[in-house]
Structures are given as structure tokens and as C-alpha cells.
């Protein structure tokens, strides 16, 4: 694997979720889901399903012909005066950006929101090289002041209250502002305005990359993205290779489903199309545009027939908002910048089963994510395959689950597919439970079922249907 990450321990993380977190998360996700549902209803479900199908098909087409469209995009970007860099992994991507920064003697960077840069840990790499990095998306700005990463892929600080943000601004910025959204935004805006003007380099991600014209598309709401990509003399966009779309017609469909699914908007306040730098002759705007195309495990994901649809994801965050697990634990529990159902798919594939093999299991497979996904990713089917990869291994990775578990599964399967053994087991369980049984329930059970009984009693084993059926059949025969 490209990154040697410590294993993500979802259970321990879940045990340390701050008590106020779930309610804050649920309040925010309910708002987004509500706005989304209203817009879907306005469109009509039939049209919505047609758009989802179209979104799915064209994204699948794009990733199926990824090599073709990426090369087309590279030619197009180069033609309009941009520089294209290919980054195999996180380390390579960071080195490329650092080299560009070194060439321009960069001291200060302004960034618009980008999950790709979170994925590769770009901020750390730049700060380690002595470069100041300022996040300019309000949510990102807030979590950066807090010293943490985004808690949600679309709304990074969605779990924080106005009071908490006012408090943070008081401590970190020395500004005493009332806990009102408008006032707090004004504080950040004033601070950030200075940073935009002083920055030597602007960094953005890209929601899409249109192959036919080499256009980098960013979808934002605050205008900071436009500042980052037009004020500093150099603009670097870091875009996952999965973000390429064939043409503007495809883009239209995706923009339509993205804003609705993400924030419940028909379209975001700013949808920016960057086709090359303004150039040396232009009075304003960056003189240079660099596009870093990031693989970081994506081409490996593409190789797996069971998992390749992971790459259809347009990072709308709807699957996070609807996920009952995400709503119980918040984003940080996943231990990866991309959280929720889509994050589990990405993390366990990008980091590998050893580092993130527990994540695909952090789902009840309820399937709410499948239904809400605007590009119809069969998320739970992919999670099921990733579980299979973890416990049994597949063509991409060896099994990482303990051997004892496999033995247990083998023994369990043997017992369950041998009818007499299964029936014997049913009878024995009824016997064995006797000392533990209270009023038809088992309040306490030994490991591993103590993990069930810590929360609620387990029902007592009570199988008697087979005996009942036989007696009944015998009696029926007797009557004949």
C-alpha cells in the first residue's frame, strides 16, 4: 500500500465520540436531507430516477474508458496552456506540489476545499516544508483553527454550534464576535481577504474534469474557491483521476444531481469552469496553471470488477447524511478524511485491508445509501465484497482476518448445513441456556455475545416448531 497507516480502530473511535456529537450531526444531516427531498419531489421521482440512471451510466462510461478520457483531458489542458502532472500516489502528489511551490518561492498558500488534498495529507507536507497553508472554505477554516480535519466531506464543520465557533474565534483569532452566523462569517471573511491578497499560490481540488476542453470544474458556495484560483499568481488543482467526465453534456447531468444531493440546492452559488490560465498577457489572474492528476490507488480500484463502481462517487455526501451509523458516530470515527459509506469504500481500498479492514463492517447493510446515491453506486454490494476481501482475500489482497475466525466460520457452516447437527445444536442450546435464563430472556451471555447483552437481553432459544409440525402431521395422518 502507498501509505503505511496505523490500523483504523472504528470501535475504539466510536467509544470516544463526544456525547454532544450525535445530536449535532443529526440536526445538520436532517436539514440537508430535508432540502434534498424537497428538490427531488419538485423534480418528480421519475425524472430523478432517470437522472440517477444517466449519472450512473455516464460515470461508468467515463471510468471504463478512463485512459482515453484522461489522455484527452491532458492534451486539452496542455493546449490551453496548463501543465499536467501525473501522481501515482500521495507522496508523489505532495512532491509535485512542493516542487512547484519551491520554483515560485512560495511562502503562503491559500486553499479552497479539496478532499483529494485531505486524502494525500498535503497540508502537513507543505507545513513540514515551512510553507503556511490557509484553508479558505469557512468550514475548513474553522476545523483548521481547531487543528483537526473535516468531519464531513461537504460540510467540514457541520457538527459545531455557532457558540463553539464564536468561542474558537475568540481564542484563536482574538476576535470577540457574537454567536451569529453572519457576524462570524464576517470575521472569517475579513481575515481571509488579507490572506488571499498575500498568497503566492492557490490550491484547489476539482469536482469534475471535462475531457473535451480540459476544464476543471469546482462547485462551491462561498466564493473563496474563485479567490484561490484567480488571485495568486499560480494555481495548482489536485484532481483524482476518477473525476474525469467526457463532455459538457455529461457535466450538466452531474451538476444537476450533485448540488441537489449535497446541500439541497438546485445549483451551488459558484460553479466555476477553469479552462487554462488567463496567461501572461492577462492583467489579472494566475500566470500558471498546474493540474495534478492523482491516482493513489484508483487504478487498482478500477481493476476490481466487484468494486470499480466505487469510482463513480461524486462526493456529494448524501450517503453520509442518510447513514444511521454515520448519524450515530459522526465523521471522525472513520479515521479517514472521507467518512460514511463512501469513505468506508475508499479508505479500505486506498489504505488496504490491513489498515482499514474494519471499516467495511461498520455498516448494518441497511441500504439507505444505495437508494440515495445520485449515481446509483451499489454501496452495500461493494462493502460486502470488501468484507469478503478482508476475511477470505481476493485477487487484490490476501485475507487479513485472524485464522481462528476462518476456522470458526468453517465449523459454523458445517454445523449449519448438516441438518442433524443443526437440530442437535438447537436442542443443546436450549439446555445450555437454562442457568442463564430469566423469564424467557438471557440477560447476560458469555463472549462474544456479551457484546449483545451489554445493550439489551438476548431472547431465549425456544425451537420447537419441528416437533410441533411432526406431531401435527402424525395426528393429521391418524385422522385420515
Amino acid at each position: 500500500m502507498s501509505q503505511a497507516a496505523a490500523p483504523i480502530d472504528f470501535r475504539t473511535n466510536a467509544q470516544h465520540v463526544p456525547p454532544k456529537m450525535p445530536a449535532a450531526v443529526q440536526k445538520a444531516t436532517a436539514k440537508f436531507l430535508g432540502s434534498r427531498a424537497a428538490l427531488v419531489e419538485a423534480l418528480g421521482n421519475d425524472l430523478w430516477q432517470t437522472l440517477r440512471q444517466a449519472g450512473h451510466d455516464l460515470r461508468l462510461h467515463a471510468i471504463t474508458h478512463l485512459d482515453h478520457y484522461l489522455e484527452q483531458a491532458e492534451r486539452a489542458v496542455t493546449k490551453v496552456g496548463g501543465h499536467v502532472h501525473w501522481a501515482r500516489d500521495a507522496g508523489e502528489a505532495n512532491r509535485i506540489v512542493l516542487e512547484i511551490a519551491r520554483q515560485h518561492d512560495v511562502k503562503k498558500v491559500v486553499k479552497s476545499k479539496s478532499m483529494a488534498t485531505e486524502e494525500i495529507g498535503l497540508n502537513h507536507a507543505m507545513e513540514a516544508a515551512g510553507i503556511q497553508v490557509i484553508e479558505t472554505d469557512l468550514g475548513e477554516y474553522i476545523v483548521q483553527l481547531l487543528g483537526v480535519g473535516p468531519a464531513h466531506i461537504v460540510v467540514p464543520a457541520f457538527h459545531l454550534s455557532k457558540e463553539e465557533i464564536a468561542d474558537l474565534f475568540r481564542k484563536k483569532l482574538g476576535v470577540d464576535a457574537p454567536a451569529e452566523a453572519e457576524k462570524l462569517t464576517q470575521v472569517a471573511r475579513t481575515k481571509l481577504r488579507e490572506e488571499f491578497l498575500a498568497a503566492d499560490l492557490g490550491i484547489s481540488g476539482g469536482n469534475f474534469l471535462v475531457a473535451e476542453t480540459g476544464t476543471i470544474v469546482t462547485v462551491t458556495n462561498e466564493g473563496n474557491g474563485r479567490m484561490c484560483t484567480t488571485i495568486p499568481p499560480v494555481h495548482v488543482a489536485i484532481v483524482g483521476i476518477d473525476k474525469v467526465v467526457p463532455d459538457w453534456e455529461s457535466l450538466t447531468v452531474l451538476l444537476k444531481v450533485l448540488a441537489r444531493s449535497a446541500t439541497g440546492q438546485k445549483i451551488t452559488c459558484y460553479t466555476q469552469f477553469i479552462s487554462g490560465p488567463p496567461g501572461a498577457e492577462a492583467e489579472t489572474g494566475p500566470k500558471e496553471l498546474h493540474l495534478v492528476l492523482l491516482d493513489n490507488g484508483r487504478s487498482r480500484i478500477l481493476k476490481s470488477p466487484e468494486c470499480r463502481e466505487t469510482l463513480l462517487c461524486i462526493r456529494c455526501g448524501a450517503c453520509l447524511n442518510i447513514c444511521p451509523v454515520f448519524n450515530s458516530v459522526g465523521g471522525y470515527t472513520y479515521g479517514y478524511p472521507i467518512s460514511g459509506p463512501t469513505g468506508m469504500m475508499f479508505a479500505s481500498q486506498i489504505l488496504g485491508a490491513k489498515a482499514a479492514g474494519g471499516l467495511p463492517f461498520a455498516s448494518t447493510l441497511c441500504g439507505a445509501c444505495n437508494d440515495i446515491c445520485p449515481v446509483q453506486i451499489p454501496i452495500t454490494d461493494i462493502l460486502l465484497h470488501l468484507r469478503h476481501r478482508v476475511v477470505e482475500g481476493d485477487e487484490q489482497e490476501k485475507a487479513v482476518a485472524p485464522y481462528a475466525l476462518r476456522m470458526g466460520a468453517q465449523a459454523g457452516s458445517l454445523a449449519l448445513r448438516t441438518p442433524w447437527l443443526y437440530r442437535l445444536g438447537s436442542t443443546m442450546l436450549k439446555w445450555l441456556q437454562t442457568p442463564l435464563k430469566r423469564d424467557g430472556w438471557l440477560p447476560r451471555l458469555p463472549p462474544p455475545l456479551n457484546r449483545w447483552t451489554m445493550a439489551r437481553p438476548f431472547p431465549a432459544f425456544a425451537s420447537d416448531f419441528r416437533t410441533w409440525w411432526r406431531t401435527r402431521s402424525r395426528e393429521a395422518k391418524g385422522r385420515q
Partner: protein, 246 residues
Amino acid sequence: MSIKAQLFITCLAEQFFPGVLRRMVGLLERLGVEVAFPEEQTCCGQPFFNSGYQTQARELARKWLEVFGRTEGFIVSPSGSCVDMVRHHYPHLFPPGTPEHRLAEDTAARTFEFTQFLVQQLKVTDVGARFPHKVTYHASCHLLRGLGVREEPKALLQKVQGLELVPLSSEETCCGFGGTFSVIYPEVSQAMMEAKVKSIQESGAEAVVACDAGCLMNIAGGLRKVNSPIKAMHVIEVLTADRGTP
């Protein structure tokens, strides 16, 4: 010609809800269905499949198909998730073009969850039950999203005499069971279960109805934990109320 139904009792219902199974037989027979019980059946393999053990799931699927593949008529189960396993996952466990794959597809096509069978196949919604209580309905995930059964259970409940169906705010939200999820991530499962129990309590219902043994184990346990008088019931228990227990 009478309609035949093979009982697919599922391991969880067999172990924990034998009463539901007995009532299911009674109700089906009352509706004129000829009921058979293939005695060699065990578990459909869902717990293995959902835990990633596809090898073991395939072994159990093979066994299940050996038992049910040669039966006649419909295959009817009191559990949406087990039917979803058979209908949607079995065909993928065997390579297309093989006899096993064909058998899996053919058998899956005649496998139905109980309420789905009543409403879609028998075209019955009024089974003549009487249950004069306030009832709310929890939509089991795999029944709802896997099989697309949203209205059928409620259509049946609405025809029950005296029954008042009250809405559940979290009707379509998972209860946190998730099979092995409940023991792999017990704290999260607990939080989800508690949220479900809270919304059931807020509904004002005297009973909460579901169509899956898994959800019922979880919800019933959760209600008991807080000493709630609200009963967690399988839909079959409500549909056979006032008829005497077989």
C-alpha cells in the same frame, strides 16, 4: 388447484419465534394454501455472506437449493432479509451459465416474504383478524430496500379490525441490528437501537410490528431493557390475533 407453499422458516425464527411459525401455518391454511415443510432446511447462509465468508455462504446456499430447489410452488418465509439473501445474493454466488446458477435464479423467483406473498400473490389484505390496539410499524431494511416491500405489511395491518396504525417517525431507519454488526460494533448498534426504541415510545403505540426476526430480537430486547410495556410483534402475530394460538 390449490396453491402450494413451502415453509422457509429461517434459523432465527426457528430458534426465537416458534410461535410465529405455528401461527403462520394456521393462517396460510385458513387462506386455502397447501403448506409443506421441507425438514432438511437449516440456515440460508446470510450471516456468513454478510460477514464476507462467501465460501461458507456458497456451501449453505448449495444446501438450501438442494432442499428447496426440488420443491413445488411458492417458498414463503416470515423474514424479509432471508428472502433478500435468496433472491438477490444466491444467483451471484454461482457463475452464470452453470446449472447451479440457473437453479438459484429459478428458485429465487418463487421465494417470497410472507406479507409480499399474501398481498402480491394471494391478493389478500383482509385476513379477518381483530386487534383493538394502537400499533406502529417498523420497516425492516432488507424487506423495504432489498425486496421493495413498503406498503404490503401496512395494507394488511390496516385491514385488521380495531387496529389503529400510528406513524413511526423513524419508520424506515435501521434499528441497528445488522447481524454480526451488533457484536462487532456493539456501541453503535446500541445507539441506533436506543434511537429506534425512543421513537417507538414517542409514537404512542402499544405494539410495534416488524417482518423480520432480526429486527424483532433487537427491538424487543431494547424495549425490555427499559421495561417498556410496548410489545414487539411479528406481523403474523397481529394477523392471527383473536383466532387462538395453534
